[in-house]
């Protein structure tokens, strides 16, 4: 790790102002990605702006037809929240399947979504539920937010404050963990809203989270496991590495989508 300046502002306004004026500053949430990257000397921020004291970034509440979760809310809090379990149980399951106990006790929703690791779980939930990312500057719908591997629509200094998840009729997340890292080798988030339309978001498969149009179409027409089986998922564009070929990943998308549909149907 290289030396850096540490700041711990008490308010969001202060944090945004600091990040605005510090050239090479970075926000620090749970540090589960950022600190490790810095230790490996892969990141060298001049300043860290610790969001930990900003209580307004924390918390889970229902607002109209949506569940509003503060950016600094930890994975363990989402996993254990009675509100989340009641409104969007799939999201609680997703959060409860991230990393291990230690990681869930510190890692945050905002950090995970801002980081947009191509194998992270939360991006599948955000995109799969058609959530809206609320920042210090604007509201960004999920379809406009994720921009490929580690890239998002966030501008320098822009902070996620909360994410608003519309309540689905049903939803589920099925994850196939990488045997080594236990990040998603394939994760499929499936949701259906009241009008019957379906979103299918896939993580772990390639350069970043994406929606699968063919699966969405088939499931919108017929929300059953058989509908999934009828779709042949293409391996084109999916990644191949020592853990899985593109073909195997494509196959797993089908299997995980089917399992998610079964789970969503309860």
């Amino acid at each position: 790790m290289y030396a850096f300046q540490y700041h711990r502002p008490g308010s969001l306004k202060e944090a945004a102002a600091l990040l605005g004026k510090l050239g090479d500053g970075k926000a620090l949430a749970g540090g589960q990605t950022l600190i490790a990257t810095m230790k490996l000397r892969l990141a060298q921020p001049s300043d860290l702006v610790d969001l930990g004291a900003i209580t307004e970034l924390r918390g889970i509440k229902v607002e109209g037809d949506a569940l509003m979760i503060g950016a600094l809310t930890r994975h363990a809090e989402v996993a254990a929240s009675a509100e989340v379990k009641k409104r969007i149980p799939a999201l609680a399951v997703l959060a409860g399947g991230i990393g291990d106990r230690q990681v869930r006790a510190v890692g945050t929703l905002g950090g995970s979504v801002a980081n947009n690791d191509p194998a992270a779980d939360y991006p599948a939930g955000v995109l799969g539920l058609g959530a809206t990312v609320i920042t210090t500057q604007r509201k960004i719908v999920a379809d406009d937010f994720f921009d490929g591997m580690y890239e998002t629509a966030l501008k320098p200094g822009e902070l996620i404050t909360a994410i608003s998840f519309p309540l689905p009729k049903r939803a589920a997340y099925a994850k196939f963990p990488n045997p080594a890292s236990r990040f998603a080798m394939i994760g499929v988030f499936v949701s259906q809203v009241a009008n019957g339309s379906v979103r299918v978001a896939v993580t772990g498969a390639g350069g970043g989270v994406f929606r699968d149009a063919a699966l969405e179409k088939a499931l919108t027409a017929n929300f059953t496991p058989e509908a999934v089986t009828s779709v042949k998922v293409s391996a084109s564009g999916l990644s191949s590495d020592m853990h899985a070929s593109a073909e195997y990943r494509a196959h797993l998308i089908g299997v995980m989508a089917k399992r998610a549909v079964v789970a969503a149907l309860g």
């Binding site: 790790m1 045997p179 080594a180 890292s181 853990h243 299997v255």
Partner: protein, 794 residues
């Protein structure tokens, strides 16, 4: 836990005494090398090669030397100028042609060329670790990158890059073992031949504690002290002083304090501790180095990595007639300390397994590649041999339609001693007993019903067997010497009885997780009839212990424990003389029972403590005939190896949709001879099984064939087994005591890792057998299993 009904003592032999060392380990009072700090110490950081193979055109250190806090920077050129030698290999293998193996130089800091990613290029010593690391970034190394080779199966083919010019075709040796003519003859007449191509996957040891060292030089004493995470400090000292640094051995003290796991990887003499010991005098500072985890991946010696063609000849009834094995063993870029012996002496000699196969021939090619050196890793050669034997046997049974237990029974060795055709003589064993016990515990009879039930859930259930043997208790020194060992393999022990009757044991064995402080204390408490609490065990310090060959090859209790037993005999013999004088009886009338010296047939007796006191306060003492004091040392050189053996039965369930394999049942019935602490033995078996299951299902070191980069260089890609990857184990022990050591013990540290991989793999194959699957490479990852299923269906 607690008392053993067969012993007169609550913490004697056979009791599951709680581990003495756990008090400090579990309360944060352990003292590991990285916990050791001295005022004014400096820190070392090693700059490592980013390339698998490259010429070093130049190294510029000026800018780095001027960086804040830098004390000194050394490169290979500095070491050469100071006449620092290369790291030695401790075992000479002679090629089939009668030539010695090729021993390319292994400089502690690269000279002229780097040979693997992670090879040490320079060391920076600075006031703080971060300053050393910062300065290292300013070192400019100009590399001329060369083509590299990492794959053992193809490295010897013509046209491959040469790792060392002195080793044409990257061959270190081609070594043959066994009667080739007899084997070829048996094959030509065989009713059936089973053939296998095997890749024994390369593993990375991953001890929890990374390697670490603190080196000190004292100008007042002109002597060095090295603290190092190591399994055999005397061997470390001998190799370092005599072969590399040319220092007087008695001027170097090596201390291996608490060590957090080794699995073999801390046996070896490594570059880092050698360089900082040398540099400690040069800069006249204490120097500390602790590996970061990424360095462990690319600099701790790796394990396994064989490519093998194996054949088994059988008659029509499934009796084994002969075995033929051809193995290419990856040695990595340099010969690590015992690298040459692992795929030869510790491998081919085990190919008889538990069976009467009359003729066996093995040919092993040791191969250099641009990879981290490969050396002993839990089991060292024996897991590789067991995998060959047990996979051949399982496949043969499948091909001939003979039940897995039946084919093994038909070929078991039943009379002992038994001389194998590969050079070992098994003293004792009862293979039927462990197989029968495992079969019963595993409820093999109920397997067909479980298979059906799994099928209804969409899962494919399979069962796999492994009847392994290993040779432990290394080793009779004369035999090892005849086979090329450049060291003895005895052990030393000293028993120091204090005036108040408490005892300190000094052992040349080294504990890095094995629990010797408990087990050895149980042996002493039982033998002397004194409380377990009154016995302390000291290990890992050349300054306090007479000598030691250290801990590896499951040798500690069998060899180290035997040395302690011999020293205890001397203590008791002397105690009898003291007691005879005090009790006014003849020496020959004194018996020692339950901690008391008695005049046989009378009620006259003295407690052990009274005799000990008299030895140090010799007022009523035979000073004319006997020296005062009660302190004895013994060296024990074994007369044979010990032969732990057992039967493992594994059941798995495969999800055919995803390829995921789950181990749902694992039974191990092992014969380790007599058992001192059943709880510790069980723990050792559990750990070994997890490592073996890790090898079978999860772990693999992967190199990029083009660049020679280690792709599985962190836990992101190297899959370590976790608690939820394994079931609750059912373990059992059967006992045939070893016939040639005083405790009748055989060793248990590696058995789990040796026995389990073929049991797991055979279970996976059994699960898929209806699809026509007959073979499966390790690790059986979901991806590989899924691919195998696809290929079988295509």
């Amino acid at each position: 836990m607690g008392a053993n009904p067969t012993s007169a003592f609550p913490n004697g032999i056979g009791a599951s005494s709680l581990r003495k060392e756990d008090q400090r380990f579990l309360t944060g009072a352990g003292n590991y090398t990285d916990d050791i700090n001295f005022p004014g110490q400096s820190y070392a950081y090693f700059l490592r090669s980013p390339h698998a193979h490259a010429k070093i055109k130049s190294i510029k250190t000026q800018a780095a030397s001027a960086a804040p806090g830098v004390v000194a920077i050394f490169t290979g050129a500095d070491l050469a100028e100071a006449k620092v030698g290369g790291l030695p290999c401790g075992w000479l293998i002679t090629d089939m042609s009668g030539q010695p193996m090729k021993e390319p130089p292994h400089p502690p800091l690269a000279q002229g060329k780097v040979h693997h990613v992670g090879d040490q290029v320079a060391v920076v010593i600075a006031e703080s670790y971060l300053q050393a690391k910062d300065a290292a970034e300013l070192i400019e190394v100009d590399y001329d990158v060369l083509a590299s080779v990492t794959d053992v199966a193809t490295a010897t083919q013509p046209g491959q890059p040469a790792v060392h010019d002195m080793a044409p075709n990257n061959v270190c040796y081609v070594w043959g073992h066994g009667d080739k003519a007899a084997v070829d003859k048996a094959f030509s007449a065989a009713a059936h031949v089973t053939t296998l191509e095997i890749r024994n996957n390369r593993l990375i040891p991953n001890a929890i504690e990374p390697r670490a060292a603190v080196a000190q030089y004292s100008r007042s004493e002109d002597a060095y002290t090295l603290y190092v995470a190591n399994q055999n400090p005397h061997v470390e000292r001998l190799l370092m002083t005599a072969f590399v640094l040319g220092l007087p051995e008695h001027k170097v003290r090596v201390i291996a304090p608490d060590v957090g796991g080794g699995f073999g990887s801390k046996i070896f003499l490594y570059a880092e501790e050698t360089v900082i010991t040398w540099a400690a005098k040069r800069v006249n500072r204490t120097i500390k180095w602790t590996a970061e985890r990424f360095e462990s991946f690319m600099s701790d010696a790796h394990g396994r990595d064989h490519a093998t063609k194996a054949e088994l000849a059988l008659d029509k009834d499934g009796h084994f007639l002969a075995m033929r094995v051809k193995t290419a063993a990856n040695l990595g870029a340099y010969l690590s300390t015992f690298a040459s012996s692992v795929p030869t002496i510790l491998y081919a000699t085990l190919l008889a397994g538990q069976y009467t196969t009359p003729a066996i021939y093995a040919e092993v090619t040791g191969v250099f590649t641009n990879t981290v050196p490969v050396d002993a890793y839990r089991g060292a050669g024996r897991p590789e041999a067991t995998f060959v034997v047990e996979r051949l046997v399982s496949k043969a049974a499948m091909e001939l339609g003979i039940a897995q237990d039946e084919i093994r029974r038909r070929n078991f060795i039943k009379t002992f001693p038994y001389a194998t055709p590969v050079g070992l003589t098994y003293d004792v064993g009862n293979y039927e007993a462990t197989l029968a016990a495992a079969t019963k515990i595993a409820d093999v009879a109920g397997f067909p019903a479980r298979r059906e039930e799994a099928k209804r859930r969409g899962k494919l259930r399979g069962i796999g067997y492994s009847c392994y043997i290993e040779a432990c208790g290394l080793a009779p020194s004369n035999i090892a010497g005849a086979l090329g060992a450049r060291a003895g393999l005895f052990e030393a022990g000293e028993i120091r009885v204090h005036p108040t009757g408490s005892v300190t044991v000094f052992t040349g064995s080294h504990s890095h997780g094995q629990g010797h402080e408990t087990t050895f204390a149980q042996v002493v408490a039982e033998r002397l009839g004194i409380p377990f609490e009154n016995v302390d065990v000291v290990h890992g310090d050349t300054g306090r212990i007479p000598f030691g060959m250290g801990t590896y090859g499951s040798r500690s209790l069998a060899v180290g424990g035997s040395a302690i037993m011999k020293a205890l005999d001397k203590i008791i013999a002397k105690g009898k003389k003291i007691a005879a004088h005090m009790l006014e009886a003849a020496d020959s009338d004194i018996v020692f029972e339950n901690g008391n010296f008695k005049v046989a047939g009378t009620d006259k007796q003295l407690a052990f403590g009274q005799v000990a006191f008299s030895a140090y306060v010799p007022h009523n003492y035979p000073l004319d005939k006997l020296e005062p004091g009660l302190n004895e040392t013994a060296f024990y050189d074994p007369t044979n190896f010990t032969y732990p053996a057992g039967s493992h039965i594994c059941e798995v369930e495969v999800d055919p949709e995803t390829g995921v394999t789950k181990v749902v049942s694992y039974v191990a019935s092992d014969d380790f001879g007599n058992i001192v602490n059943p709880m510790i033995v069980e723990g050792q078996v559990h750990g070994g099984l997890v490592q073996g299951i890790g090898q079978a299902l999860l772990e693999q070191a992967v190199y990029d064939p083009e660049s020679g980069q280690l792709l599985s260089g962190s836990y992101t890609d190297y899959a370590m087994p976790r608690a939820d990857d394994v079931p609750n184990f059912k373990v059992d022990t059967q006992v045939t005591p070893c016939t040639h050591n005083p405790l009748g013990v055989k060793g248990c540290g590696e058995a789990g890792a040796i026995g389990s991989p073929p049991a797991v793999i055979s279970a996976v194959i059994d699960a898929l057998k209806d699809l026509g699957v007959r073979d499966m490479a390790m690790p059986a990852t979901p991806y590989r299993v899924w691919q195998t299923i696809q290929n079988a269906r295509a």
